[in-house]
C-alpha cells in the first residue's frame, strides 16, 4: 500500500477511535454479560445456540451501524467541513483519498469485530464451560460478517461521494435490507415470467448478496461451512467491494469542491 493511502487510512482509524466509536464495545459487553447470565439460568441444553445466535447477530448489527454511520460521512463530511481542501492541495490523488478512507474504516471495523468476537467467545465459554473444535466455525461466521462490512463500507463510501449524509444513510440501509434478502429476490426472479422477472433477476445480481454471507444460524446449530463457500464468498466480497470503490473513485474524480 502506498504511504499516502496508509496515512489517510490510519488517520481515519484515529478519528473513529477519538470520536469514541469503540465505546459501542461497552454496550456490546453489557449485552454479552447479560445474555450469558440470563441464558445460563433459563435455557437448558441450548445455551450455545442462544449465545451464538444473539452474539453473532449483535456483532453484525453493531458493525453495520458503525459502517453506515461513519461511512456516509467519510467523503461528504470532508467536503462540507472543507477539511478536504488542504488534503487535495497536496500530492494526494483523489483515488488514494477514497481508498485510504476505505481501508481506515475497514480497519476500524476489523478491530471492533475482533474485540466483539472475544466477547462472544467469552460468553460461550461462560455458558458451556469448554471450548470445542466446533467453535472454530464461529470464526468463519465472523469472517463472513467482516466480508459484509467490507461491502457495506464500499457502498456507503460510494453514496458519500455524491450524496448528502442523510440520503447516503437511506441508500445504505435500503441496500443492507434488500441485500439480506438477496436469495429470496433470486427465488422470486426465477418464478416470475416476463420483464418483471428479468428486472427482478437483474436487481438480484446487482444488490449485494448478504444472505450468502450469513451463516450465523447454521454455525450456531453446530454445522460446518463448506470450503468452497468460503472461497466464493471471499472472491465475491473482494470483487464487489472493488467494483463499488471504482465507482466511488470515478464519481469523486469528477466532483468539484464547493
Amino acid at each position: 500500500m502506498n504511504s499516502r493511502i496508509l496515512t489517510i487510512a490510519s488517520n481515519t482509524f484515529r478519528e473513529a477511535v477519538r470520536d469514541r466509536v469503540l465505546y459501542n464495545l461497552i454496550a456490546f459487553a453489557l449485552l454479552m454479560v447479560g445474555a450469558a447470565i440470563l441464558v445460563g439460568q433459563i435455557s437448558i441444553g441450548i445455551e450455545r445456540l442462544v449465545v451464538l445466535n444473539l452474539g453473532l447477530t449483535a456483532v453484525s448489527v453493531f458493525g453495520m451501524l458503525i459502517a453506515i454511520f461513519i461511512g456516509i460521512g467519510l467523503v461528504s463530511k470532508e467536503i462540507e467541513k472543507r477539511t478536504l481542501y488542504t488534503v487535495l492541495s497536496r500530492p494526494v490523488r483523489r483515488w488514494e483519498f477514497i481508498v485510504g478512507k476505505y481501508f481506515g474504516l475497514a480497519g476500524t471495523l476489523v478491530v471492533n469485530t475482533f474485540l466483539m468476537t472475544v466477547g462472544v467467545l467469552g460468553a460461550l465459554f461462560y455458558v458451556s464451560h469448554k471450548i470445542e473444535r466446533l467453535d472454530a466455525w464461529v470464526l468463519v461466521a465472523v469472517y463472513f460478517i467482516v466480508l459484509q462490512f467490507l461491502i457495506i463500507t464500499a457502498l456507503t463510501l460510494l453514496f458519500s461521494s455524491f450524496s448528502s449524509t442523510i440520503m447516503s444513510a437511506v441508500f445504505a440501509f435500503a441496500l443492507f435490507v434488500i441485500g439480506s434478502f438477496a436469495e429470496d429476490l433470486r427465488g422470486f426472479a426465477e418464478i416470475t415470467p416476463g420483464i418483471a422477472g428479468m428486472l427482478a433477476k437483474g436487481a438480484a445480481y446487482v444488490v449485494p448478496n448478504f444472505s450468502a454471507l450469513n451463516v450465523i444460524t447454521s454455525v450456531a446449530h453446530g454445522e460446518t461451512v463448506a470450503g468452497k463457500l468460503i472461497f466464493f464468498n471471499t472472491a465475491y466480497a473482494i470483487f464487489y467491494s472493488a467494483a463499488v470503490l471504482a465507482g466511488a473513485v470515478l464519481i469523486f474524480d469528477r466532483r468539484s469542491m464547493k
Partner: protein, 313 residues
Amino acid sequence: MSVIEIAGLEKTYSTGFFRKTKKFALRPLELRVEQGEIFGYLGPNGAGKTTTLKMLMGLVFPSGGSARILGMDINDSKVKSRIGFLPEHPYFYDYLTGRELLDYYGQLSGVPSKQRRERVESLLHRVGLSDSAGTQLRKYSKGMLQRVGIAQALLHDPEVVFLDEPMSGLDPIGRREVRDLMEQLKKEGKTVFFSTHILSDAEALCDRVAILFQGELLRVGAVADLTANVQGKVEVTWSGATVPPSIRALGVECHITSDTARIVIDEQKQDAAVDALRAANLRMISLVPVRATLEDYFVQQLKTSRKAMAVSA
C-alpha cells in the same frame, strides 16, 4: 521567470431550472506571476478570487483555459509537493492536536520522518503555537486555527505559497506577524500569491496586484503605477469652528473640532477653497496633498466598472 502562468482560465456555472443560463464565476483570465514576488489578488467578496485559487489547487475544475505552476500543468500531482495552500477560513480535523495535524500533512506531502519532526517543531515556533502544540484543534481559537493553517501551508518548504485571505480572523498583532512572515518568505526567494479584500495589507506588502471584479480582471500592476493616475486630493485645515457657505457649496464633508475645521477636496478645487477662507477672514493652518491609496484606486476602478456594466445593461 513566471512561476504562475494562467491562460484563459475560466469558470462558468449553469443556473436555472433547465440549467441553460450560464453564469461566469471567472471570465477568461490571463495572468503571470514572477518568481520571488508577493502578488496580491484583490477584489470585493464574490469577485472570483477563491474560485481562481480553487482551480489552481485542483479543487474545482475549470470550464476552459489552462494554468501552469513552476512550468507544470496544474493537473500534474507532482506540482503539489512544491506549492503550499492556505484556504479561506480553514477547517481542520479537530480531533488532532496541532502537532499531529502538521505531522499528518507532512506525511501526505512526502516529507521524510526526521526532517518532518524538525519542520513541525520549527513551524509551530514560527507561528507562535509551540505552547499549544499538544492541544486538540477543537480547543483552538479562530486566530490559532489561522496560524496552524499558515504552518501547514509552509510545512514542506514550498516554492510557491497560495494564501486565501491569510489575515482573516487575526488580531492586529497577528496580522503584523503574518505580514512579517510573508516578507520573510520573499527574502527566502519564495513566491507568495495571496488574495485579500483588505487593501492596506496589499499596499504594504505586494510587488504587484491584480484587481478582480465580478469575475473579470480589471488591472494588473505595481501599486505605485496603479495609483499614479488617481485624481489627487488635498486636505485643507483652518482655525475656527466656522465653515463659510462658499466652502459648503463645494459639496464636501467638513470635520469640525472645538477650534479647527478640516476638509478633503479634489486638487482642482483647492484655489476656490483658499479664496473662500480668505474672503471669510479665516486663517488657514495647512494645505497638504493627500497621497492616493490603493483603496482610492480600487474604489475608482469599481465605480468605473459598475457604470460600464450599467450602460451595457
